[in-house]
Amino acid sequence: MDNTIVATNPSTTEAAVAEEHAHISLPQHRHHFETEEQQREAGTFGMWLFLLTEIMFFGGMFFAYLLYRNWYYDAFVVGSNQLSIPLGGTNTAVLITSGFFMALAVWAAEVRKRALLMLFLVLTTVFGFVFLGIKYVEYHEKWELHHIPGAHFDVSQFVNPKAYGLKEEPIAPDMAQKVQIYFSLYFAMTGMHALHMIIGVGILFWLMWRAQRGDFTSGYVAPIENFALYWHFVDIVWLFLFPLLYLINRHPM
Protein backbone atom coordinates (compact mmCIF):
# COMPACT_ATOMS: atom_id res chain seq x y z
CA MET A 1 0.00 0.00 0.00
CA ASP A 2 1.45 3.29 -1.01
CA ASN A 3 -0.10 5.36 1.72
CA THR A 4 0.95 3.55 4.83
CA ILE A 5 4.29 3.60 6.49
CA VAL A 6 5.22 0.14 7.60
CA ALA A 7 5.52 0.41 11.36
CA THR A 8 8.79 -1.14 12.22
CA ASN A 9 7.86 -1.68 15.84
CA PRO A 10 4.42 -3.23 15.56
CA SER A 11 4.42 -4.59 19.06
CA THR A 12 4.19 -1.25 20.83
CA THR A 13 1.27 0.06 18.80
CA GLU A 14 -0.96 -2.70 19.99
CA ALA A 15 0.48 -3.21 23.44
CA ALA A 16 -1.80 -2.70 26.39
CA VAL A 17 -0.06 -0.06 28.41
CA ALA A 18 -1.46 1.17 31.68
CA GLU A 19 -3.27 4.46 31.26
CA GLU A 20 -1.97 6.93 33.81
CA HIS A 21 -4.33 9.69 32.73
CA ALA A 22 -7.98 9.42 31.97
CA HIS A 23 -8.48 10.51 28.36
CA ILE A 24 -11.97 11.79 27.97
CA SER A 25 -12.52 12.89 24.45
CA LEU A 26 -14.02 16.37 24.62
CA PRO A 27 -16.18 17.67 21.81
CA GLN A 28 -13.61 20.41 21.20
CA HIS A 29 -10.85 17.87 20.57
CA ARG A 30 -9.33 18.67 17.23
CA HIS A 31 -8.60 15.69 15.01
CA HIS A 32 -5.04 16.61 14.23
CA PHE A 33 -4.01 16.40 17.87
CA GLU A 34 -3.35 13.01 19.40
CA THR A 35 -4.32 13.87 22.98
CA GLU A 36 -6.11 16.51 24.99
CA GLU A 37 -2.88 17.48 26.75
CA GLN A 38 -1.13 17.97 23.45
CA GLN A 39 -3.88 20.28 22.26
CA ARG A 40 -3.93 22.22 25.50
CA GLU A 41 -0.18 22.64 25.72
CA ALA A 42 -0.02 23.61 22.07
CA GLY A 43 -2.64 26.27 22.73
CA THR A 44 -0.75 27.68 25.70
CA PHE A 45 2.51 27.60 23.77
CA GLY A 46 0.87 29.38 20.84
CA MET A 47 -0.55 32.08 23.11
CA TRP A 48 2.86 32.63 24.72
CA LEU A 49 4.42 33.03 21.27
CA PHE A 50 1.79 35.65 20.52
CA LEU A 51 2.66 37.40 23.79
CA LEU A 52 6.29 37.44 22.70
CA THR A 53 5.20 39.46 19.70
CA GLU A 54 3.45 41.83 22.07
CA ILE A 55 6.63 42.22 24.14
CA MET A 56 8.54 43.22 21.01
CA PHE A 57 5.67 45.44 19.87
CA PHE A 58 5.63 47.50 23.07
CA GLY A 59 9.41 47.18 23.23
CA GLY A 60 9.92 49.69 20.44
CA MET A 61 8.00 52.33 22.37
CA PHE A 62 9.80 51.51 25.61
CA PHE A 63 13.08 52.14 23.84
CA ALA A 64 11.89 55.48 22.53
CA TYR A 65 10.89 56.36 26.08
CA LEU A 66 14.31 55.34 27.41
CA LEU A 67 16.09 57.46 24.84
CA TYR A 68 14.08 60.63 25.19
CA ARG A 69 13.92 60.46 28.96
CA ASN A 70 17.69 60.55 28.90
CA TRP A 71 17.88 63.35 26.34
CA TYR A 72 15.18 65.55 27.82
CA TYR A 73 15.13 64.63 31.48
CA ASP A 74 13.87 68.00 32.72
CA ALA A 75 10.99 67.98 30.26
CA PHE A 76 10.10 64.44 31.27
CA VAL A 77 10.08 65.44 34.93
CA VAL A 78 7.72 68.31 34.23
CA GLY A 79 5.54 66.12 32.04
CA SER A 80 5.40 63.35 34.59
CA ASN A 81 4.47 65.75 37.34
CA GLN A 82 1.42 66.70 35.28
CA LEU A 83 -0.01 63.26 35.87
CA SER A 84 -2.07 62.40 38.90
CA ILE A 85 -0.54 59.78 41.17
CA PRO A 86 -3.81 59.08 42.98
CA LEU A 87 -5.52 58.34 39.68
CA GLY A 88 -2.58 56.37 38.29
CA GLY A 89 -2.01 54.47 41.51
CA THR A 90 -5.69 53.66 41.80
CA ASN A 91 -5.67 52.44 38.23
CA THR A 92 -2.71 50.21 38.97
CA ALA A 93 -4.56 48.70 41.92
CA VAL A 94 -7.68 48.35 39.78
CA LEU A 95 -5.81 46.47 37.09
CA ILE A 96 -4.06 44.23 39.59
CA THR A 97 -7.46 43.42 41.09
CA SER A 98 -8.84 42.71 37.65
CA GLY A 99 -5.95 40.32 37.04
CA PHE A 100 -6.58 38.67 40.40
CA PHE A 101 -10.17 37.99 39.42
CA MET A 102 -9.10 36.66 36.03
CA ALA A 103 -6.73 34.21 37.74
CA LEU A 104 -9.59 33.11 39.97
CA ALA A 105 -11.74 32.67 36.88
CA VAL A 106 -9.20 30.21 35.49
CA TRP A 107 -9.32 28.33 38.78
CA ALA A 108 -13.12 28.27 38.73
CA ALA A 109 -13.08 26.83 35.21
CA GLU A 110 -10.55 24.19 36.21
CA VAL A 111 -12.65 23.07 39.19
CA ARG A 112 -15.77 23.29 37.06
CA LYS A 113 -17.75 25.83 39.08
CA ARG A 114 -19.84 27.66 36.49
CA ALA A 115 -21.42 30.28 38.75
CA LEU A 116 -18.07 31.26 40.24
CA LEU A 117 -16.53 31.41 36.78
CA MET A 118 -19.25 33.80 35.67
CA LEU A 119 -18.83 35.92 38.78
CA PHE A 120 -15.09 36.24 38.33
CA LEU A 121 -15.37 37.01 34.63
CA VAL A 122 -17.89 39.71 35.40
CA LEU A 123 -15.66 41.19 38.11
CA THR A 124 -12.68 41.12 35.75
CA THR A 125 -14.69 43.01 33.17
CA VAL A 126 -16.05 45.51 35.67
CA PHE A 127 -12.59 46.39 36.92
CA GLY A 128 -11.42 46.59 33.34
CA PHE A 129 -14.10 49.17 32.67
CA VAL A 130 -13.15 51.09 35.81
CA PHE A 131 -9.59 51.27 34.52
CA LEU A 132 -10.74 52.56 31.16
CA GLY A 133 -13.04 55.04 32.85
CA ILE A 134 -10.27 56.52 34.96
CA LYS A 135 -8.07 56.64 31.87
CA TYR A 136 -10.75 58.60 30.07
CA VAL A 137 -10.89 61.08 32.94
CA GLU A 138 -7.13 61.53 32.75
CA TYR A 139 -7.14 61.97 28.97
CA HIS A 140 -9.97 64.45 29.21
CA GLU A 141 -8.00 66.54 31.67
CA LYS A 142 -5.07 66.62 29.25
CA TRP A 143 -7.39 67.71 26.47
CA GLU A 144 -8.66 70.56 28.61
CA LEU A 145 -5.15 71.72 29.44
CA HIS A 146 -3.95 71.59 25.82
CA HIS A 147 -1.38 68.98 26.63
CA ILE A 148 -2.21 66.73 23.70
CA PRO A 149 0.66 66.80 21.18
CA GLY A 150 -0.02 68.53 17.94
CA ALA A 151 -0.86 71.99 16.72
CA HIS A 152 -2.65 73.03 19.93
CA PHE A 153 0.06 71.97 22.36
CA ASP A 154 0.50 74.67 24.95
CA VAL A 155 3.75 75.03 26.87
CA SER A 156 2.94 78.16 28.80
CA GLN A 157 2.23 76.22 31.95
CA PHE A 158 5.74 74.82 31.96
CA VAL A 159 7.53 78.02 31.13
CA ASN A 160 5.68 80.11 33.66
CA PRO A 161 4.14 77.89 36.33
CA LYS A 162 3.75 80.70 38.86
CA ALA A 163 1.16 82.34 36.66
CA TYR A 164 -0.95 79.21 37.01
CA GLY A 165 -0.51 79.04 40.74
CA LEU A 166 1.76 76.02 40.56
CA LYS A 167 4.71 75.38 42.84
CA GLU A 168 6.84 73.96 40.01
CA GLU A 169 10.18 75.30 38.84
CA PRO A 170 9.96 76.92 35.42
CA ILE A 171 11.97 75.38 32.56
CA ALA A 172 13.52 77.01 29.53
CA PRO A 173 11.25 77.42 26.48
CA ASP A 174 13.16 75.00 24.26
CA MET A 175 13.10 72.30 26.93
CA ALA A 176 9.44 73.10 27.46
CA GLN A 177 8.83 72.23 23.83
CA LYS A 178 10.26 68.81 24.53
CA VAL A 179 7.44 68.10 26.94
CA GLN A 180 5.51 67.41 23.79
CA ILE A 181 7.69 64.36 23.21
CA TYR A 182 6.88 63.18 26.71
CA PHE A 183 3.19 63.47 26.02
CA SER A 184 3.60 61.87 22.60
CA LEU A 185 4.99 58.82 24.30
CA TYR A 186 2.46 59.02 27.12
CA PHE A 187 -0.46 58.95 24.72
CA ALA A 188 1.13 56.43 22.36
CA MET A 189 2.00 53.98 25.11
CA THR A 190 -1.07 54.31 27.30
CA GLY A 191 -3.24 54.56 24.20
CA MET A 192 -1.85 51.34 22.76
CA HIS A 193 -2.27 49.76 26.19
CA ALA A 194 -5.88 50.96 26.41
CA LEU A 195 -6.55 49.60 22.93
CA HIS A 196 -5.37 46.20 24.10
CA MET A 197 -7.63 46.52 27.13
CA ILE A 198 -10.62 47.37 24.96
CA ILE A 199 -9.97 44.36 22.76
CA GLY A 200 -9.61 42.28 25.91
CA VAL A 201 -12.92 43.52 27.28
CA GLY A 202 -14.56 42.64 23.99
CA ILE A 203 -13.20 39.11 24.19
CA LEU A 204 -14.36 38.95 27.82
CA PHE A 205 -17.94 39.55 26.73
CA TRP A 206 -17.68 36.68 24.27
CA LEU A 207 -16.15 34.46 26.97
CA MET A 208 -18.90 35.36 29.42
CA TRP A 209 -21.54 34.43 26.89
CA ARG A 210 -19.94 31.07 26.28
CA ALA A 211 -19.21 30.47 29.97
CA GLN A 212 -22.85 31.09 30.72
CA ARG A 213 -23.68 28.14 28.45
CA GLY A 214 -21.29 25.92 30.39
CA ASP A 215 -18.73 25.64 27.60
CA PHE A 216 -15.78 26.00 29.95
CA THR A 217 -16.81 24.02 32.97
CA SER A 218 -16.70 20.49 31.59
CA GLY A 219 -12.96 20.11 31.17
CA TYR A 220 -12.28 22.44 28.27
CA VAL A 221 -10.62 25.46 29.85
CA ALA A 222 -8.21 26.52 27.11
CA PRO A 223 -9.94 29.76 25.99
CA ILE A 224 -10.21 31.00 29.59
CA GLU A 225 -6.65 29.97 30.34
CA ASN A 226 -5.19 31.52 27.22
CA PHE A 227 -7.22 34.71 27.47
CA ALA A 228 -5.98 35.01 31.06
CA LEU A 229 -2.43 34.93 29.73
CA TYR A 230 -3.28 37.83 27.43
CA TRP A 231 -5.00 39.76 30.20
CA HIS A 232 -2.11 39.31 32.62
CA PHE A 233 0.31 40.41 29.96
CA VAL A 234 -1.61 43.63 29.38
CA ASP A 235 -1.51 44.08 33.15
CA ILE A 236 2.28 43.64 33.18
CA VAL A 237 2.68 46.34 30.54
CA TRP A 238 0.79 48.72 32.80
CA LEU A 239 2.93 47.69 35.80
CA PHE A 240 5.88 49.13 33.89
CA LEU A 241 4.05 52.12 32.42
CA PHE A 242 2.92 53.38 35.81
CA PRO A 243 6.32 54.03 37.43
CA LEU A 244 7.94 55.06 34.15
CA LEU A 245 5.33 57.64 33.26
CA TYR A 246 3.91 58.79 36.60
CA LEU A 247 6.81 58.59 39.02
CA ILE A 248 9.67 60.50 37.43
CA ASN A 249 11.35 62.63 40.05
CA ARG A 250 8.48 63.09 42.43
CA HIS A 251 10.65 63.93 45.37
CA PRO A 252 10.96 67.51 46.55
CA MET A 253 14.21 69.26 45.73
Binding site: T44, F62, G99, F100, H251
Partner: protein, 111 residues
Protein backbone atom coordinates in the same frame (compact mmCIF):
# COMPACT_ATOMS: atom_id res chain seq x y z
CA UNK B 1 -2.86 5.01 20.44
CA UNK B 2 0.59 6.13 19.49
CA UNK B 3 1.06 8.48 22.41
CA UNK B 4 2.84 5.78 24.34
CA UNK B 5 5.54 5.58 21.73
CA UNK B 6 6.74 9.06 22.34
CA UNK B 7 10.52 9.27 22.72
CA UNK B 8 10.56 12.88 21.65
CA UNK B 9 8.20 13.82 24.46
CA UNK B 10 5.70 15.44 22.19
CA UNK B 11 2.30 14.35 23.31
CA UNK B 12 2.74 14.55 27.04
CA UNK B 13 5.53 16.96 27.76
CA UNK B 14 7.43 15.98 30.87
CA UNK B 15 4.38 14.01 31.94
CA UNK B 16 3.33 17.01 33.94
CA UNK B 17 0.25 16.44 36.01
CA UNK B 18 -1.90 19.38 35.33
CA UNK B 19 -1.29 21.58 38.36
CA UNK B 20 -4.18 23.71 39.54
CA UNK B 21 -3.07 26.85 41.34
CA UNK B 22 -5.25 27.54 44.37
CA UNK B 23 -7.08 30.78 45.20
CA UNK B 24 -4.94 31.05 48.31
CA UNK B 25 -1.79 31.41 46.21
CA UNK B 26 -3.54 33.96 44.04
CA UNK B 27 -4.59 35.95 47.11
CA UNK B 28 -1.03 36.05 48.43
CA UNK B 29 0.20 37.24 45.04
CA UNK B 30 -2.57 39.85 44.90
CA UNK B 31 -1.60 41.32 48.25
CA UNK B 32 2.07 41.22 47.28
CA UNK B 33 1.36 43.19 44.13
CA UNK B 34 -0.64 45.82 45.99
CA UNK B 35 2.15 46.11 48.54
CA UNK B 36 4.78 46.65 45.87
CA UNK B 37 2.58 49.25 44.21
CA UNK B 38 2.36 51.17 47.48
CA UNK B 39 6.13 50.72 47.90
CA UNK B 40 6.99 52.11 44.52
CA UNK B 41 4.82 55.19 45.05
CA UNK B 42 6.40 55.78 48.44
CA UNK B 43 9.92 55.32 47.05
CA UNK B 44 9.25 57.91 44.37
CA UNK B 45 8.92 60.59 47.01
CA UNK B 46 12.32 59.86 48.56
CA UNK B 47 15.36 61.41 46.97
CA UNK B 48 17.66 58.54 46.11
CA UNK B 49 19.35 60.20 43.19
CA UNK B 50 20.26 57.84 40.43
CA UNK B 51 18.73 54.95 42.36
CA UNK B 52 15.17 56.21 41.95
CA UNK B 53 14.60 54.84 38.43
CA UNK B 54 16.63 51.73 39.29
CA UNK B 55 14.44 50.92 42.25
CA UNK B 56 11.27 51.73 40.33
CA UNK B 57 12.26 49.32 37.57
CA UNK B 58 13.37 46.69 40.06
CA UNK B 59 10.01 46.82 41.80
CA UNK B 60 8.13 46.74 38.51
CA UNK B 61 10.22 43.76 37.37
CA UNK B 62 9.54 41.92 40.61
CA UNK B 63 5.82 42.46 40.15
CA UNK B 64 6.06 41.25 36.58
CA UNK B 65 7.96 38.13 37.60
CA UNK B 66 5.39 37.33 40.26
CA UNK B 67 2.53 37.76 37.79
CA UNK B 68 4.30 35.58 35.24
CA UNK B 69 5.18 32.80 37.65
CA UNK B 70 1.88 32.57 39.49
CA UNK B 71 -0.98 34.32 37.73
CA UNK B 72 0.29 33.02 34.39
CA UNK B 73 1.23 29.63 35.87
CA UNK B 74 4.70 29.59 34.34
CA UNK B 75 6.21 28.17 37.53
CA UNK B 76 4.22 25.00 36.95
CA UNK B 77 4.66 24.64 33.25
CA UNK B 78 7.09 22.79 31.00
CA UNK B 79 10.65 23.87 30.33
CA UNK B 80 9.58 24.84 26.83
CA UNK B 81 7.20 27.50 28.12
CA UNK B 82 9.81 28.79 30.54
CA UNK B 83 12.38 29.05 27.78
CA UNK B 84 9.88 30.75 25.54
CA UNK B 85 9.25 33.46 28.13
CA UNK B 86 12.99 33.85 28.58
CA UNK B 87 13.55 34.11 24.85
CA UNK B 88 11.02 36.91 24.61
CA UNK B 89 12.65 39.00 27.28
CA UNK B 90 16.10 38.22 25.90
CA UNK B 91 15.16 39.57 22.49
CA UNK B 92 13.63 42.66 24.09
CA UNK B 93 16.89 43.21 25.95
CA UNK B 94 18.88 42.86 22.73
CA UNK B 95 16.73 45.55 21.17
CA UNK B 96 17.25 47.89 24.11
CA UNK B 97 20.94 47.37 24.78
CA UNK B 98 22.25 47.23 21.24
CA UNK B 99 20.28 50.28 20.14
CA UNK B 100 21.43 52.03 23.28
CA UNK B 101 25.04 51.23 22.39
CA UNK B 102 24.71 53.66 19.50
CA UNK B 103 23.17 56.47 21.51
CA UNK B 104 25.50 56.14 24.47
CA UNK B 105 28.65 56.12 22.39
CA UNK B 106 27.68 59.13 20.31
CA UNK B 107 28.68 61.34 23.17
CA UNK B 108 32.14 59.82 23.07
CA UNK B 109 32.85 61.85 19.98
CA UNK B 110 34.81 60.90 16.90
CA UNK B 111 37.88 58.64 16.97
Amino acid sequence: MSEHQDPSNVTNPEHSEHHIVTPKVYAIVFVTLLFFTWLTVKAAFVNLGILNPVIALAIASTKAVVVILFFMHVKFQSKLIKMTVGAGFFTFLVLITMTLSDYISRAWGLW
